[in-house]
Amino acid sequence: MSFLELNDLRVHFPTDDGLVKSVDGLTFKLERGKTLGIVGESGSGKSVTSLAILGLHKGGRAMISGEIWLDGEELVSASAEHVRTLRGKKMAMIFQDPLSAMHPYYTVGAQIVEAYRIHHHVSKAVARKHAIDMLGRVGIPQPERRIDSYPHEFSGGMRQRAMIAMALSCDPELLIADEPTTALDVTVQAQILDLMRDLQQEFNSALIIITHDLGVVAELSDDILVMYGGKCIEYGTAEDIFERPEHPYTWGLLGSMPRLDRARTERLMPIKGTPPSLINVPSGCAFHPRCAFEGRTGGKANTQVPELLETEGGHLVRCHLPREERRAIWENEIKPNLESV
């Protein structure tokens, strides 16, 4: 069994407007020392997935089913109290906006010390030493001085580093970073991503990076999972996804990916239309209202839900198009377009 395994995970929220199927049957595996990128437009269920793994989905209201196996333990059926003791120690999380994710009234140091002392029964002085050490390791200059600063006294990048230091303070075996660079500007983004790569090698943890931007996970990820409307629509190694993607939505993401050799605002082929409603999910293939190839599936696109099928060597795709046709479209119609600009 892998270190982390999700098995048909579903997280649904009953609301006044109907049942929101935020995560609808997600299955994947992740080993220690490996990085999984979860990619999808906003609203595709990425955050809910990560919160569910930590047991932080809004308890009473959410309906959760399926299995989450972490190091041989099943978490969906585990007691809330037991999952709490794993949080922060066995699995930790880095959030998108470090300004709002850190308590404005406590110093950065106090917040790291707190995180450490929940799981380690040490004196404040020892914990403080450890916090200074962590701040130094994430590249904060003069950590013994900065430890007493408040979050608002840090720059955005420094705050995210502090957040990373906090998450890593108990040496978690699973680290989930939910849009860790989205709130930062481009140069800082690159620094934070470098830092995360270095730290992951050092700590040998399993890492999940969640993002709406394929560019962020391009270099970091071993595997990539593309999510659409609460479901996985393509899964494979980073090479599979970047070199031989087979799902029209993944093509769209690749086309809208900002690249260093292009101005950031200039998008090659943005995906037309808007993300699907998670209450009234489009019939058949949830992507069909936005798909340019919908007509080539012989009328199945809006009547039959495509299954997630293996195309080759662990590369999974959820699309009615025959494998040969997908490959032909990628080679002849999509890839040349992506490279020409």
Binding site: L51, L54, L56, R84, T85, L86, R87, G88, K89, A92, M93, F95, D97, S100, A101, M102, H103, P104, Y105, T107, E114, A115, I118, H119, Y150, H152, M166, A167
Partner: protein, 339 residues
Amino acid sequence: MVTYIIRRLIWGVVMLAIVSMTTFAIFFLVPRLAGATSDSLAARYVGRTANAEQVKIAAERLGFNDPLIVQYGRFAKGIVVGADYNYGPGVERCPAPCLGYSFLTRLPVWPDLLTRLPVTISLALGAAVIWLIAGVATGVVSALRRGSFFDRASMSIALAGVSLPIFFTGIVSLVLFSYGRPFAITAPGGSFTPFFTNPVQWAYSLLLPWITLAFLYAAGYARLTRSGMLETMNEDYIRTARAKGLTERVVVFKHGLRGALTPILTIFGLDLGLLMGGAVLTESTFSLPGIGKYAIDAITSQDLPKVMGVVLVTAFFVVLANLVVDLLYAVVDPRVRLT
């Protein structure tokens, strides 16, 4: 920080000067608009037996014929260095801070206020402790159990508490709890025992007024705490706190309540400052000899110097409370810079 405090103190003195000028002008003009002359005002000091000549002399000596500005100057000077009142039969020394002489008792106002201040402070502080604990606790539980029976019941009671006047809740509590009543918890009203004389008796004599006054405020604090907690418990930093593996109790109190407490602290300081000027209705309902009762008695007997004294003392506490609250704000919220 120090310059900030100095500037605020100066500003506070200016505020008090403005308040004193305004009240002085009003109390100078009100009797005159009502037809009083310098002589009829002076007559209140020398007594009914005096003849017209004596009254005229007294009016002159008390300075009632001087222009408004001169009279205010004398009044202000009296607050700072004290004053001598000469009304014929003798000269009365009124030491600083001299807030003037009562028309009726011919006693200086300040010592009167001083004897009443302990009552008002006892009432306000005791009630404040009760309402802060009860209000915040109710608000927190309501927020955490949003929509539950407890939430709906306590918020309905809170709504009643905010809307019902003291003389109603006060009389209800008198009927229910006072001496000889079914749920008697207090001695006959109106007997204030100073804390240093007998602390137990002190608390006993104030219990009913405390509860009555606290009920009114607790209601508002419960609502304020509830809405503040609902807001902060949705903040990202609460999710972070949970992600660290903190127990829910620590999440709620150390992270949630800490975030919700700032506005409560502000209101608390201002409420307390204002209450130092007397809880008028509570004091009258329970016949407590505090500042508020003093003010009511002064108004009904048209003893203007007393009324003015109460206004100034109240203004002083409000200005002071404002300063303290602003300073505390910077302590509580590190993002606040005092400049």
